[in-house]
């Protein structure tokens, strides 16, 4: 066997698995998005040209949900990167009990999404939740946190940031720890402070880790489902509905599988384009350096 084929052979099990769990569903979704498969066809799958894609372009709810999903992903991932970096820097510093702190920080990430969402729903319950109990103990009226689009959105972002910042922090901490200590010491010997060390040494070397965390989180945030479904149900008035929630509704409640596949593919394409733009941007920045 030639040397070129041998690596492929070793990779074959992994490639087969990837093909089964990623490529096949993707190809099937592509195929389904050009077919009608709903109650109106008796759930039979019939070719319909590009009707699903035409419908998508004219579907105001898709565009509203796309905007809401982009906004949710942008704000939550941005906050998670900022806070994650801060936590990573704190955990990177030598201190007593650092091991315990690192383990504690991971607790929100380790919680199942459904448990976390229900926890937040309870915290924000009007009027019996702990947050409203606190407000009432101060002599104020309970606040309906989940009935206004703006507060509901803010708490949805907060819940997501609370849960997933540790994930970003741990990735960035791994990055920080991979930087040779003598580089930092050399810089400090030349009189550099914390800010200069971060800007000139740590940040440039952390870039691949930031990219990794961002791409992972971007894909997850675009597919946000359990948090929305349990905390807000997409409300109030559809203001927190995500593209994944909409696709779920189309498939499971409306039994329109062709359009649901189209929605999921559109979401996938959006994540793909954003990821490519980020990677392209990173490459440009790297080339300039």
């Amino acid at each position: 066997m030639s040397a070129d084929l041998l690596p492929l052979l070793w990779m074959a099990p992994a490639l087969l698995l990837l093909g089964l769990v990623f490529l096949w569903p993707w190809v099937h979704y592509c195929w389904l998005s050009f077919h009608a498969s709903s109650l109106l066809t008796g759930l039979a799958t019939l070719p319909n040209g590009g009707a699903n894609w035409q419908r998508l372009l004219q579907d105001g709810r898709f565009w509203q949900d796309a905007l809401q999903t982009v906004r949710f992903a942008g704000v939550s991932v941005g906050l998670e990167l900022g806070l994650g970096l801060l936590i990573a820097l704190l955990l990177h510093r030598p201190s007593r009990g650092r091991g315990l702190l690192r383990a504690l920080v991971l607790i929100p990430w380790a919680l199942p999404g459904t448990v976390m969402a229900l926890g937040w729903r309870w915290i924000l319950n009007d009027p019996h939740g702990p947050l409203n109990a606190l407000i009432q103990s101060l002599g104020r009226s309970p606040f309906p946190f989940l009935t206004s689009p703006s507060t509901t959105w803010a708490f949805t972002v907060l819940a997501d940031v609370w849960k997933t910042t540790p994930f970003v922090a741990i990735i960035l901490l791994a990055g920080l720890q991979s930087i040779p200590r003598d580089l930092e010491e050399a810089l400090r010997l030349e009189g550099a402070g914390h800010w200069t060390v971060l800007r000139r040494l740590q940040w440039p070397l952390l870039t691949p880790y930031v990219s990794l965390a961002l791409l992972f989180r971007l894909a997850q945030a675009f597919g946000v489902f359990d948090l929305i479904q349990l905390l807000t149900g997409g409300g109030p008035a559809g203001s927190t509905e995500s593209l994944a929630s909409y696709a779920y509704l189309q498939a499971m409640r409306f039994l329109d599988f062709g359009y649901s596949a189209t929605l999921m593919l559109a979401t996938f394409l959006m994540v793909l384009v954003l990821s490519l733009l980020w990677l392209g941007g990173m490459r440009l920045v790297g080339a300039r350096r």
Partner: protein
């Protein structure tokens, strides 16, 4: 201030309402849930039920299993939430070979499941006159297109709960309801006047259906098979509902309330009126809290000069297509929907029966006064649109209704949008008539 106990109860309620992510995952993996029959007799009829009904019918299932050797019943406890139960059933049906023979279905699912080809007609197994002994309203939504698709097990309709310690009689119309609630609030006897379900979910569609009809309007025109939301009556109905929140009769949080949220607030004694299903009656009686023994129930009221009514929320058994045990399943349906089991359900749970003979049973009426109210409520049942596209148009109404309550839309705009979007769905589907 609400007590710690009531907070605990709300938390229990929140946890109890866990939609079935985990259960769905188990289902996909083919794992079986708790089942009441482990043995493998000659024939095991498997049923998927919402958890509360699975618990309520557990004694009847045990009794059947003890009496029969050739057919046994195995019940899977599904999620509490109605729509999540449908999602679970849908997942299993989409996989092709459903592990269930029977499904306990909400009345609003029937047309969709029939259109999907997931149900088997029952008339050949149970006879053409299977529904004949039932009260007229309980028969609604079970048979269409010349077939019987579902045998109802309960005849529930939404009811109005009122505080007997705060008023001599219940309100006769919506005007009185708002006025009495406001007066009690002004006197400092209650913090809130009226609680109901305003969250963006199926419960809100039921509330909106009741309010629309209560003001002489309608959601659905069964003659044309189209929505009919642009009437003056519909505007008036939506204005009344919005004003409940704007005038502080209903708490702002009602826009995020489901049944359990409304019940928990009512149980604290801080509310004069509540719209809920009959299940709440038993829970209020068991609570031994501030309102126990101080609650009355009456059919939902309409605007002055109009007949009020509660949404029909019956549960019924349907036979899934592809079940290899139709004969055994038919025996199980006969037993679980029969008069003996329904009598036990009245006694143990307060569920409204569907058989006329039970409403005529004097001893049952005497021991369960709620039956009298349920029987009155069943005279004016409100049936949700009987169309395979119900889920879509209900979703539209929920979104616009919730936007109305959260003050992002005016009643006129909310109704116009709901009408336009429903029209688009119906037109795109080419559907204009009932199934």
């Amino acid at each position: 201030m609400p007590s710690l106990i009531s907070r605990r109860r709300v938390l229990q309620g929140v946890l109890a309402s866990v939609p079935s992510s985990g259960i769905l995952a188990n289902q996909f993996l083919g794992a079986s849930l708790s089942e009441s029959a482990e043995a493998s007799p000659a024939e095991t009829v498997r049923i998927l039920m919402p958890a509360p009904l699975a618990d309520a019918t557990a004694p009847a299932v045990r009794k059947f299993n003890l009496r029969h050797r050739d057919v046994q019943i195995a019940v899977t406890r599904g999620p509490l939430d109605t729509e999540t139960l449908s999602d679970l059933a849908t997942s299993s049906l989409l996989l092709g070979d459903s592990p269930f023979d029977l499904l306990l279905m909400d009345v609003s699912w029937t047309a969709r499941y029939v259109a999907a080809g997931w149900l088997q007609p029952l008339e050949t197994l149970l006879g053409d006159d299977a529904l004949a002994g039932m009260v007229p309203s309980a028969r609604l939504g079970n048979a269409f297109g010349g077939h019987l698709w579902r045998m109802p097990l309960s005849g529930d309709t939404a009811l109005l709960y009122w505080r007997t310690d705060l008023m001599p009689r219940p309100p006769r119309d919506t005007q009185e309801l708002a006025a009495m609630a406001r007066a009690l609030q002004d006197q400092g006897k209650v913090r809130w006047g009226y609680v109901w379900q305003g969250r963006q979910y199926e419960g809100l569609s039921c509330v909106l259906l009741e309010v629309l009809h209560g003001f002489g309007g309608r959601w659905w025109d069964s003659q044309t098979g189209r929505t009919d939301l642009m009437s003056a009556e519909a505007h008036e109905a939506f204005h009344w509902l919005t004003n409940l929140v704007r005038q502080g009769i209903s708490p702002p949080g009602v826009a995020n309330f489901a049944e359990n949220d409304a019940l928990q607030l009512f149980l604290t004694g801080e509310v004069a009126f509540m719209r809920n299903w009959p299940y709440a009656w038993q829970l209020i009686a068991q609570e031994n809290g501030p309102v126990t023994g101080k609650v009355g129930v009456t059919p939902l009221v309409g605007a002055p000069g109009h007949q009020g009514g509660g949404t029909l929320g019956t549960w019924g058994l349907s036979l899934l297509a592809g079940s290899p045990r139709p004969m055994g399943a038919a025996r199980v349906i006969r037993w679980l929907t029969g008069t003996d089991v329904q009598r036990d359900l009245v006694r143990s749970q307060g569920y409204a029966p569907t058989w006329r003979s039970l409403y005529e049973d004097g001893s049952l009426q005497e021991s369960h006064p709620l039956m009298e109210v349920q029987s009155q409520a069943l005279l004016h049942p409100l049936v949700r649109p009987l169309t395979p596209l119900y889920a879509q148009i209900s979703d539209v109404l929920q979104r616009q209704g919730n936007a109305l309550l959260t003050s992002t839309l005016s009643p006129e705009v909310a109704l116009a949008r709901a009408q336009r979007q429903s029209e688009l769905i119906l037109r795109a589907a080419g559907a204009s008539t009932d199934p």
